[in-house]
């Protein structure tokens, strides 16, 4: 049984975030891997060591502040689970929150959890549009497509990026890097439904979750024609 945890679904439900949960769970179910969803909201208990896949999305300012307050209280147990290999997908606000701080326009430093050595500063323009990045999955370069919409610019220092930007902005619109990978944590600005289209990435997360539990990681192949076609539309459009 894999336990999927959606943190703050009540607060962070912008941009079709739940598509990521749907995709992870369906691809498990289609292969007969039992999977269970836990929705954890502000103030509700959760034991991160017990979770196999944790999803953290983004929200509007008000919601994000409420989330940050609650998440800071859980920092230690989350950090420990991450060091022990918890599989995490954090998007946009979630990505920024795992970092050191967010530097606002007027120079104010809003602290993050500081689990990842990355920081974000407020940008002048919104980085917005379809994006294609190249991600290395099991030694192969895979084109991953999505939509980004953020004004924060994130710098990941020496950490490994999730992928290289082929078309679009990425973390900050400058260094051609997108997202960050640390242990089994995957962060990205490709918001909303990142996992449904990008099935190889989803399968990688499932495999990592199975491996952490010492389970069989061989995944029967699924028919992914629609997934590939949906990515293909964006790749083709952006390569023109």
């Amino acid at each position: 049984m894999l336990k999927v945890c959606h943190l703050y679904p009540d607060l962070l439900n912008l941009y079709g975030d739940r598509g990521n949960i749907i995709a992870f769970m369906q691809r498990c179910r289609w292969r007969g891997i039992p999977v269970e969803l836990l929705e954890v909201n502000v103030g509700e208990p959760v034991n991160f060591a017990d979770i196999d896949f944790l999803f953290l999305g983004g929200g509007s300012d008000r919601e994000q502040n409420l989330m940050a307050e609650d998440l800071l209280l859980r920092k230690d147990s989350l950090q420990q689970a991450i060091e022990e290999g918890l599989v995490v997908l954090a998007i946009c606000g979630g990505f920024q929150m795992l970092g050191q701080y967010y530097l606002t326009h007027d120079g104010q430093k809003i602290p993050g959890l500081g689990i990842l050595d990355v920081y974000t500063k407020a940008g002048d323009k919104r980085l917005i549009g379809n994006i294609v990045i190249e991600v290395e999955i099991n030694g192969e370069p895979v084109k991953v497509a999505g939509f980004e919409n953020h004004s924060g610019q994130t710098y990941i220092g020496n950490l490994q990026p999730l992928g290289k930007v082929i078309a679009g902005f990425g973390n900050n619109g400058q260094d051609q890097l997108e997202g960050v990978r640390y242990k089994n944590v995957f962060c990205s600005y490709l918001h909303g439904p990142l996992l449904p289209k990008n099935s190889k990435l989803t399968d990688l997360l499932i495999q990592l979750a199975l491996r952490r539990r010492g389970l069989d990681t061989s995944l029967p192949r699924l028919n992914d024609d629609l997934e590939e076609a949906a990515v293909g539309v964006i790749v083709e459009r952006l390569s023109k």
Binding site: Y15, S60, F147, P193
Partner: protein, 466 residues
């Protein structure tokens, strides 16, 4: 006589003619041209409405509400100016007046009825002063264009605050809308639905507002209508669902019609609407409230609502070889969820067509599809037999259905609209249900008009709204 206005109107009329000759709809270009020539065009034209200006804003139902108000006002014998559906930015609003103006820039009308996009609302208010403003609801819509919902609500609220005086007509069931009275201090008439008018609402629905707009406490609900609409109360301050002056109850679907009772200060009425979709009762209640405020008699309001016919893509009905086909515009999660509820409320098997475009006017980000509860369709598997996905993002639509649990063999992708619509019309279902995002709507309607017969025509007196 204002020479500048005359020149602007003439140039705009020529631009409209040329635009239509080259196949355009001419719904915004004339406004753009006129405003370039004379910045006061809209102000001067709107100022000629003898009785005043009524604006409708909010996320869903603007076009329907505005057209319903038009039906009510027309049935009382007034002359109106109304903006062409969808053309609800400042240029579209300007174009509407130009269309009704003569070459000298004169307009003969009692009321101007304007649906105004939420983001354009403050801009339009700088040039046009309404006597009444209807606010329907606030939902997330095209986030990539407008940013967050909070921002949209604030825009509308701040714009209203700047008006010295205005009569508000507000939805009492939407906390984001109902707050507008306290927040702006204007006088308001509330419309709403008696609690528990429906039973089929999905519990999974996106709720847009969880917190009190005045004090920030989490709102408590006795009951929900849909999304954040319902009977709410704030435990932190005195804010709660205002008692509506115009309240609908006993809502029922009778064939392709909706019926409801309406309680209002002077009595009780029965309304019948030639349309479906639960949300349309709210739109009708808003129109009822406007009519009542104007002193229009109950019979005339009821008659006006009865003569209302849906605009393009608002549950517009066609017939293909004796089989009904319904065309429905979708643009955000709540609207789509309501569309799915309507689909499931019609008995019999359906072939479903879903077109998704991601042009600017649709919103380039289609992530919101993942917030729609297509899972309802999967759990009512026997109700549907085929899904035809089309449009520029047909593949993403198909993918969403697959992950909702619709069997893969029921999903087909046909990017090209005409072939896709044909396949859907000829599908095995007893009814064809067509969903379309904004920019695919006109092409889809054109194709339907060529292939099928239109069931109902526009209400009398509405022919000028082409």
């Amino acid at each position: 006589m204002n020479i500048k206005l005359m020149l602007a109107v003439m140039a705009a009329k020529i631009a409209a003619f040329l635009s239509r000759m080259f196949g355009g709809k001419g719904s915004s270009l004339p406004g753009v041209v006129a405003r370039k020539i004379y910045a006061g065009t809209l102000r001067d034209l709107a100022g000629q409405a003898r009785q005043g200006i009524i604006m409708v804003t909010g996320t869903n139902g603007k076009t329907t509400t505005n057209n319903m108000i038009a039906s009510v006002i027309l049935s009382a014998g007034n002359k109106i100016v109304i903006n062409q559906e969808g053309a609800n930015l400042i240029t579209g609003v300007t174009t509407a007046f130009i269309r009704y103006a003569n070459w000298w820039g004169r307009i003969d009308c009692d009321y101007a009825l304007l649906e105004v996009d939420e983001a354009s609302f403050p801009k339009v208010l700088m040039e046009v002063t309404p006597q009444m403003v209807v606010v329907n609801n606030f939902f997330r819509d095209q986030l990539d264009r407008y940013g967050e919902l909070d921002k949209t609500v604030t825009l509308v609220r701040d714009a209203l605050k700047k008006l010295p005086e205005v009569q508000l007509i507000l939805n009492s069931d939407d906390p984001l809308v109902a707050q507008m009275q306290q927040a702006t201090g204007h006088r308001a008439t509330f419309f709403g639905l008696a609690p528990q008018q429906r039973t089929e609402t999905g519990s999974q629905q996106t709720r847009e507002a969880r917190f009190c707009p005045h004090c920030g406490e989490e709102l408590q609900y006795h009951s929900y209508q849909y999304s954040q609409l319902g009977s709410f109360i704030c435990p932190g301050c005195s804010f709660q669902r205002p008692e509506p002056e115009v309240e609908g109850f006993a809502v029922e679907t009778v064939g392709a019609r909706l019926r409801a009772r309406v309680k209002y200060p002077q009595g009780e009425a029965q309304i019948t609407l030639h349309t479906q979709g639960f949300y349309n009762v709210y739109n009708a209640l808003a129109a009822f409230a406007v009519g009542n405020l104007m002193g229009i008699k109950e019979e005339q309001i009821v008659k006006g609502l009865l003569t209302y016919r849906p605009a393009i893509g608002r549950m517009e009905t066609f017939s293909y070889q004796g089989k009904p086909a319904i065309l429905n515009l979708v643009k955000n999660p709540t609207g789509y969820n309501e569309g799915l509820n309507s689909l499931l409320s019609i008995p019999g098997s359906k072939t479903v067509f879903m077109a998704v475009n991601d042009n600017d006017a649709d919103g380039r980000d289609i992530s919101w599809l993942w917030d729609v509860d297509f899972e309802h369709l999967a759990s009512a598997d026997h109700e549907t037999d085929l899904f035809v996905c089309s449009g520029l993002r047909a593949e993403e639509m198909a993918l969403r259905l697959k992950y909702a649990g619709i069997p893969r063999e029921k999903i087909t992708v046909i990017r090209e609209l005409e072939a896709a619509i044909k396949t859907a019309l000829e599908g095995p279902g007893q009814l064809t249900y067509l969903f379309s995002t904004y920019t695919a709507l006109w092409p889809a309607q054109k194709i339907l008009l060529a292939l099928a017969e239109k069931e109902d025509t526009h209400a009398e007196g509405m022919s000028s709204v082409s």
